[in-house]
Symmetry: C2
Subunit: 704 residues, 2 copies
């Protein structure tokens, strides 16, 4: 995607200004127009700062200017801290003065109603026309931590500043961003850029994510999103981060109806379907954090340790009980806790007769009698199985002055001997000691369960370079007419696209129906054909399991009569005679719908109660990535049913995946002319018995 072909030069100028004007400058370091001046002066900004206020000569010991243009020297960034009615003229002044970027703190725009929204839209358009990047309105601005730029009025840095680091954090919400800043400080997490995007008249969260994906000073990206205004833009930004191998950790609120309602009352952004966001995040390997603790654990850990080679993990413990706890956690998280080989197990038992030598390896309290046991056992584990990750529960060792040197040299030795192994320890450590181990790329957790959960999440990050280019579509474009297609037309389109459909004929007389039944063979189903009747069985328009000419003939007449009686105005275009799909299989459902934010979304699920009552479905944004269709099958909660529940043979997963891929290609070819498509049922047959077959389909073209 070339939405972000190179790093946004306008954003670079905005985030790394050499000169800053503060419009609406205040003499008080407590006020919105005074705080940024105070911060630039105290926190080490090495560029020029120009207070702009027509009513003052000097502000906070700096000369003040009546306007940005009056400064007469280059101004990279203008911070506007003026009431909403004054924003337009202040913006003009900044643009005239040649500012490349504008941060607009002021509230009173889209969040207050339609008039504010219109004013905001005009501002955005003017920024784009002028080639100026605008952050806000109604935002807390940004901080470029490495360059000591504090273009914010958040009180958070006053309490204490976050250290420079390689994690970039962008938030749509100012208050959330400020709290995250305070948590980063409290947890000793270093940041490169901190930005809040507010009402997003111009710069969106996605723009900042894309900029961070290309920022050499950033390794890991944290994002907080309430609603996305431009789905393709967000997807392009996430694709950039994935291609750059930078882990992205996101918090998205609104996973429940109540949360979505709360988010909607708070933001002007489209809430959208949370399950679709989830699918988009999965598509780009984004780690979705459900809590603030997870948000920081994941991002900080990704920055410290990166991604493990695979899901294998060696678990090491001084306590059998905690070993069992870690085994439970690792097992539940789908990590590969494979046992040591027998020779290694025997060796361990030679050293400690009552050790648990499989995995977890429990060397017991015996270690207190022989401290060398720890490193020997850890090396034995890693030499034997080359685990991608190794995690040791070392009890309260880290809190003991006597034991700390042993712990430090253990980590140093393992880091040197196994440079590509993800190392983690669970122990209680003072912050300085923790930082010392982290500097050796060793993760530290007080709670072993946090460690296991984090390692499992990091193992789910996409492999670097794994981003295969996906074609937008794989065939000639299709243009669907608006409204629902008839069932035969829908089946024909799907068949042409490569979806296996049930053997069927369209007929216009009872004679033709009996002939079709005979030609198809076996038992047949007969359904009226009418584009105007979406629910054929509700009007008696469907007859199943017909055998023999008499039954078929009777059904032809009966379904027509019944449908006419129910809906006299509907036009009947004959009947569809289809071979009954018999002999078992699993009823599935597949479809595509158009999400207002992210466009076409593929859906797959098991039929019947699974989709209707248990809501067990899997979504993917289109186009699919390689392997997506197969992966979707495995992500159902009821996936085991595909593998042959109740003694039945497993279904043909390859055929199902191929049908999903064909449906996806069809949807892409139809583009904007497709409103929705649904195959229900799509019957999955056992392996070797004919793949899968679409028995009924409904396709609806978009209203013009």
């Amino acid at each position: 995607m070339d939405l972000f072909a190179s790093q946004d030069a306008g954003l670079s100028a905005l985030f790394a200004p050499r000169s800053i004007a503060v419009v609406g400058a205040s003499t008080s370091a407590q006020k919105i127009g005074g705080i940024p001046i105070d911060y630039q002066r105290r926190f080490g900004f090495d560029g020029a700062v120009y207070p702009v206020n027509p009513h003052a000569e000097r502000i906070q010991e700096l000369p003040a200017w009546p306007s940005v243009q009056a400064i007469g020297r280059p101004v990279d960034l203008a911070i506007l801290a003026v009431p909403a009615p004054l924003v337009d003229s202040a913006f003009d002044d900044a643009v005239q003065a040649g500012a490349k970027g504008v941060v607009l703190f002021s509230s009173g725009f889209a969040e207050v109603g339609a008039e504010g929204a219109a004013a905001q839209a005009r501002l955005g358009a003017r920024a784009r026309a002028a080639g100026v990047r605008l952050i806000g309105p109604n935002c807390l601005g940004f901080m470029n931590v490495a360059r000591h730029v504090y273009a914010t009025f958040s009180p958070a840095p006053n309490v204490g500043r976050v250290q420079p680091g390689r994690i970039g954090l962008v938030s749509q919400s100012g208050a959330f961003g400020a709290y995250a800043y305070a948590m980063a400080r409290a947890r000793g997490v270093g940041l490169s850029l901190w930005a809040t995007t507010g009402n997003e008249a111009d710069v969106q969260l996605a723009d900042c994510l894309a900029w961070l994906a290309q920022d050499p000073g950033t390794d890991v990206i944290m994002g907080y999103i309430e609603g996305c205004r431009d789905g393709p833009r967000l997807r392009a930004a996430l694709a950039l981060a994935q291609a750059a191998g930078k882990p992205v950790v996101m918090v998205k609120v609104g996973s429940t109806a109540l949360g979505a309602q709360a988010a909607a009352s708070h933001t002007a952004a489209l809430a959208g379907d949370d399950a679709v966001y989830d699918a988009v995040f999965r598509r780009y390997g984004v780690l979705r954090a459900r809590t603030l603790t997870e948000f920081f654990d994941l991002a900080h850990s990704a920055a410290v340790a990166g991604r493990p080679r695979d899901r294998s993990i060696g678990l090491f413990t001084l306590s059998g009980g905690v070993g069992a706890l870690m085994a439970d956690d690792a097992s539940a998280q789908g990590l590969d806790v494979r046992p040591l080989g027998q020779a290694a197990q025997d060796r361990l038992r030679d050293w400690v007769p009552f050790a648990a030598p499989r995995n977890p390896v429990d060397i017991t309290g015996q270690v207190t009698n022989d401290l060398s046991l720890m490193e020997r056992a850890a090396r034995l584990m890693l030499d034997d199985q080359r685990f991608a990750s190794w995690m040791g529960f070392l009890a309260a060792a880290g809190a003991s002055d006597a034991f700390w040197p042993v712990l430090r040299s253990l980590v140093a030795a393992l880091r040197e001997a196994y440079p590509d192994t993800l190392l983690a320890v669970s122990t209680l450590l003072a912050p300085e000691r923790r930082a010392e181990l982290e500097a050796m790329r060793c993760l530290v957790f007080a709670d072993p369960s946090d460690g296991i959960r984090t390692v499992a999440a990091l193992a789910g990050l996409p492999a670097p370079g794994a981003v295969a280019p996906v074609a937008a579509s794989t065939g000639p474009a299709l243009a669907l007419a608006p409204g629902a297609l008839s069932e035969p037309a829908a089946l024909a389109l799907l068949a042409e696209a490569g979806v296996p459909v049930v053997a069927h004929r369209v007929v216009h007389s009872a004679d033709a129906a009996t002939a079709a039944a005979e030609a198809l063979g076996g038992r047949v189903a007969l359904k009226i054909v009418s584009a105007g009747i979406a629910h054929k069985s509700d009007v008696g328009g469907v007859a199943l399991g017909l055998q023999g000419a008499a039954q078929v003939r009777a059904a032809f007449e009966a379904t027509r009569a019944s449908a006419r009686a129910a809906l006299p105005a509907a036009r009947l275009d004959g009947a569809l005679v289809a071979r009954m799909v018999e002999g078992g299989g699993v009823e599935c459902i597949a479809g595509v719908h158009r999400d207002p934010v992210f466009g076409p979304i593929l859906m797959f699920g098991l039929g019947g109660i699974h989709v209707e009552t248990l809501r067990d479905v899997v979504l993917r944004p289109l186009p699919l990535a390689p392997g997506d269709a197969q992966a979707m099958l495995g992500e159902l909660r009821g996936a085991a049913i595909l593998d042959g529940a109740r003694g039945r043979p497993p279904v043909d997963r390859d055929a199902l995946a191929a049908a999903l891929q064909a449906l996806a290609d069809f949807a892409l070819r139809a583009g904007d002319t497709l409103a929705s498509a649904e195959i229900n049922p799509l019957i999955a047959r056992p392996v070797g018995e004919g793949g899968c077959v679409a028995v009924d389909a409904l396709i609806v073209g978009s209203a013009a």
Copy 2:
């Protein structure tokens, strides 16, 4: 239950000794036999300490004695820190000297094999015979924090001591217990008693739990369990805690196969079925913690704030984003986030035009202009809806010196005005400030999600006084013969017990079968009767949907012939003719099996793939508590299916619950003579259409 009719006097003597002998005393404060002497001397124990060691005159500045008996003064507690071969004589010496309690650190017993297990069993028997309570062997001992008794060789107190408090902690694992002690210290959680039970030759975890349930110094109980040796004992202890209104928080390892394996390799205790433990915990309102963080969050919060009246919660925030996050969490946790009334909402909007006034209430950054808004809005919320819990996200307010007094007086005002409301705030606070709010019974969380999860868990604690006595059985005892009963016999027993069973007749001839079919009416099923054939359909012994004399007669002959051909040796006792249950309903399954630890367990699930593939079943230990049977129905993941999936009417839940209760009563009457009972299918009919009906049943008597 009278297993623990009064607090165990022996344990009281053991946990609160006035004099302690340490056998195997060492001059080194680093050694197992020296540590407890060092601790008693340094940590404020005000009783007598007697080192016992025949090879020394003085130990750590105290006179040493050659034996416990040689001391010649009363010894309440003897700590044995001698090698396994010397344990027997040391124990005898302590008993002869009149010790009331013994702590046995030594390893080399059940954990090393059969011989050690036998020695351990003999020790336990001798302790019981002598009326002495024995903790261990292979344990880290205990600490009575309030009384400064440190009968342990754990190094943990050396790094820093836990403050006295009202939480008792018992662990089967020494290393886990020691880490939990260190975490308690790091988190500022105060303890009453800390105990580890090791191999449990005499004192079990359950005994300690029961003691804590009756200890006036303990309000909240924490337990770590790997495996329970005596199910009824554990249940009795948990019932005591429930009756006393003391929250119990447990960690139980082995929830996965891998974790269970790791736990089994670590402990001599029976692993048992984790799902049964879960059911037992639920029965007694035990909060099961899945991580160490949860373990402490729950226990500490229960001690600080207790149980909220109900699940209603008012959410208050300064950040719309975090408000949405809290709404998501509260919704997912099943809390009742009901909105404020319209008048209160209007009032809020008068104060802050852009506030979100429903619930969460978001008063926005406006609060910085008017600090009084916080208390006014909080009072408005609580006056309007009388929420049982109120939680406020106050951003980084707690970290700001300027804002802290406002926060403190907010909490003080709310505590005074709403004494029975659970108060919680999410903000960043230094430990002293946190303690100050906690002293006002206000919970403090850095992560708002931790807060919501904790409040939801506390709301799940049993209401005080809610422990209804449950009868052990409700009818005359039944004695089942060993082995499988025939189906008619099983149906007859269940019918007598009050479970509705399908209308049926037992016949011994084709003529009788046709007569029975005619008498029953409608379509019938016919099955061979043979106690020796468990799977009748596998041998062709079942025919369904028979209509008319000819079909019934043919089926009678065909099923007999088929079964005889398959199993010539099996004895056929005629056939069972049953009315087909037609017209819809939901196939369920119900049963009772005997757990080796906890005895009879009732199981309920939905039939077919739900139980076989998705393993969606609910368990309860017997006897049921009032309301248990109804509650079980709602705990199925697929519970919505009972409420009428796919347009079907809801089933009769009362009838299902009554059938479960009847099955439970039957199992209690049969007592130890019942190995298992299973009704499959138990068909649940729609409301008003005949309740539910057992269609097939298998009952197996215990082997003699």
